[in-house]
Amino acid sequence: MTGKALVEAEGLQKFFPLTRSVTDLVRHLPRRAIHAVDGVSLTVRARETVGLIGESGSGKTTLGWLISRLHEPTGGSLRFDGEDVLALRGNELRRWRRNVQVVFQDPVGSLDPRLKVWQIVGEPLRAQGELGKGEIRAHVKDLLPTVGLPPDCLDQFPHEFSGGGRQRLSLARALSVDPRLVVLDEPTSALDVAVQAQILNRLVELQKEREVAYLLITHNVAAVRYVADRVAVMYLGQAVEVGGVREVLEHPIHPYTKALLAAVPVADARRRRTRFKIGGDVPSLVNPAPGCRFAPRCPFVIDRCRVEDPLLREIPGAPGQLVACHRAEEVREIAPVSLLTTVDDRSTGAAASA
């Protein structure tokens, strides 16, 4: 199903510098920066779907934008099909962009309200500069049915479409240049549930037809379970666990992954649920302390976690699953339930209703 490595990101970093305040200048404090993505290595193979999950602010979108070269990385390397993408400039970069396209989260804002459907969907084609207006219109007309839109809406404006329709337009725009990778930045989070399912199904079909790889950025674990082949879990700008979707979602090793997955609500009244609560708040991304990012909240923390950055490594007995945790072997079999405050949903529910 999947082929050779398409995207190889090595230690990608993106820091957003903060302006120095007067008090900082007076105190001679070093320049501060938000470490949005801090040393992420990720591989996306041809024709596969990699899900990127994590809570808000974990750097998922920033990583997606780094890979699609919408952000200039602060550090690290990025190869696409073996080619060093970060070295590309100007026209070379523009030509390269046809390989990687992006579907944005906001279906309203990502379509220019003043352009018509054929201009929006045909924009990447036009930017590549190989086709004339008539050819672009014809191409867009052929493309619209593949995303489930009628071919005769070429001259309509985006505001005439529903949220799902707009996201289909976004998808058509991304696919117009036959990219090898589409970065899907929360493509369904602004849509209602029925439309989400349609879009996801369409994505799966299109992947089979067009042999495109997806990087699916989302906080919807169910969507990842449904669509993705592999999954990467991010926390505070770092990838904490990467592996096959089944392995990671069924047998999470990293304490954060365990916590994240336990937090996903499951609508099943018969199932006895234990809720796994992570104590504490998400620490600041501004010049984070050394060591594991999860250490301040981790129930399994040891001194080593606070000084030494854990690296993504393969754990014996869990092939293909990379975990960034010093105690991965020890915590591997620990179910979240045994160590933490557990809340029985049924009893609390009964208490609430009584």
Binding site: A127, L149, E160
Partner: protein, 359 residues
């Protein structure tokens, strides 16, 4: 274009020719006018003014029997059938002079607002779009904005008066004096709009599509900035006219009666100290200023509706056109595609059957 998807309109999928697009825009414009009587009044007044200006430039004797500065034998006459706005002490027909001032006043106002729009707008666009600190554009942006701030920190009318004094009287001097104080507003306006637009996701989408920065500015930023700026421009014509009149009133404008201009006319007759005895001398130009400012203000408000494709559709009464063409697929899909469990989330497909890869 809007007209093609309108009921009864031809529904071809071919490219819109410029002529057709212009016609479509015109039809929308008529609908906006129909829906909004005040805009219609403004529009008719502007058309009237433009027509009168054209006539005064070509065949002025259609509207008045007198030439510019032609003295009649009647002086200090009250308004009558022969002299609708009366005559002044030297025998000038006020009505004729007000008419001859129309093209001049409009030209001055458009020249000032237009040049301010062009230069201020271009600077604002550059300052807004390329404002990243530490780059050449960022440095340029800072220079533009600080110079703008300096100009804005003066009371603009006083500055215009000071410049007018130093330049002397005359039409070009007047234009320059007002223009020098006028452009900073457009820098601020366009920069603000540019800043708002350039962070919208569709600009990012264009960048991801490989569109060059220059084309992004022209195609996405400028097009979405133009609408509020054109509305402001139309309203601004009135403001410029009032400023012109104020400068003229103080006596620094053009040299009436050698050049007819409304503000200077009022100033000239007022300084003669005979307003109470011959009030009609200022009534004519005063009325002209009032109507012109009113016309552009009313028109400007309606323009907003014409320029926005979203309100266009509503006004054109074809709001359901797009929705009906997208929803069938959505509805059809809703029954055919998704497999929903009770949680409302897509049913997980067993991952093993999808061939999980291992590195």
């Amino acid at each position: 274009m809007t007209t093609r998807s309108a009921p009864g309109g031809p529904s071809s999928a071919g490219g819109a020719s410029p002529a057709r697009r212009a016609w479509g825009g015109f039809v929308v414009f008529l609908r906006v006018l129909r829906a909004n009587p005040l805009t219609l009044v403004g529009f008719l007044l502007v058309v009237l003014l433009a027509g009168a200006a054209l006539v005064m430039l070509t065949v002025p004797h259609l509207l008045t029997p007198y030439s510019v500065n032609q003295l009649t034998l009647d002086y200090n006459q009250a308004p009558s059938w022969h002299h609708p706005f009366g005559t002044d002490g030297t025998g000038l027909d006020i009505y004729a002079m007000v008419l001859y001032a129309i093209p001049i006043d409009l030209a001055i106002a458009f020249a000032i607002a237009g040049a301010a729009l062009f230069w201020g707008g271009a600077l604002g666009l550059v300052a807004g779009f390329w404002d990243k600190p530490g780059t050449l554009g960022g440095a340029l942006s800072v220079v533009i904005l600080r110079v703008t701030d300096i100009f804005l920190s003066f009371p603009s009318l006083i500055l215009a008066l000071a410049i007018a004094v130093s330049l002397g009287r005359g039409v070009p001097q007047l234009i320059l004096a007002v223009l020098l104080t006028w452009w900073p507003f457009y820098v601020r306006l366009v920069r603000g709009e540019t800043l708002a637009v350039k962070h919208l996701p569709y600009v990012m989408a264009a960048r991801a599509a490989g569109v060059t920065e220059g084309r992004i500015v022209l195609r996405h930023v400028l097009r979405n900035v133009v609408e509020p700026v054109v509305v402001y421009f139309t309203l601004d014509i009135g403001t410029v006219l009032v400023t012109l009149s104020t400068i003229g009133f103080i006596g620094l404008g053009v040299n009436y009666p050698f050049t007819p201009e409304w503000g200077s006319m009022i100033s000239y007759y007022q300084s003669a100290g005979l307003i109470s005895a011959y009030p009609w001398t200022v009534l004519g130009p005063g009325l002209a200023i009032f109507l012109t400012v009113l016309a552009f203000s009313l028109l400007g408000d309606g323009l907003r509706d014409v320029l926005d494709p979203r309100s266009r559709r509503v006004l054109a009464g074809t709001g359901t056109g797009g929705a009906s063409s997208t929803s069938p697929s959505e509805r059809e899909g809703a029954t055919a595609e998704p497999s929903l469990n009770r949680s409302g989330l897509p049913e997980p497909i067993p991952t093993a059957s999808r061939g999980v890869s291992s590195p």
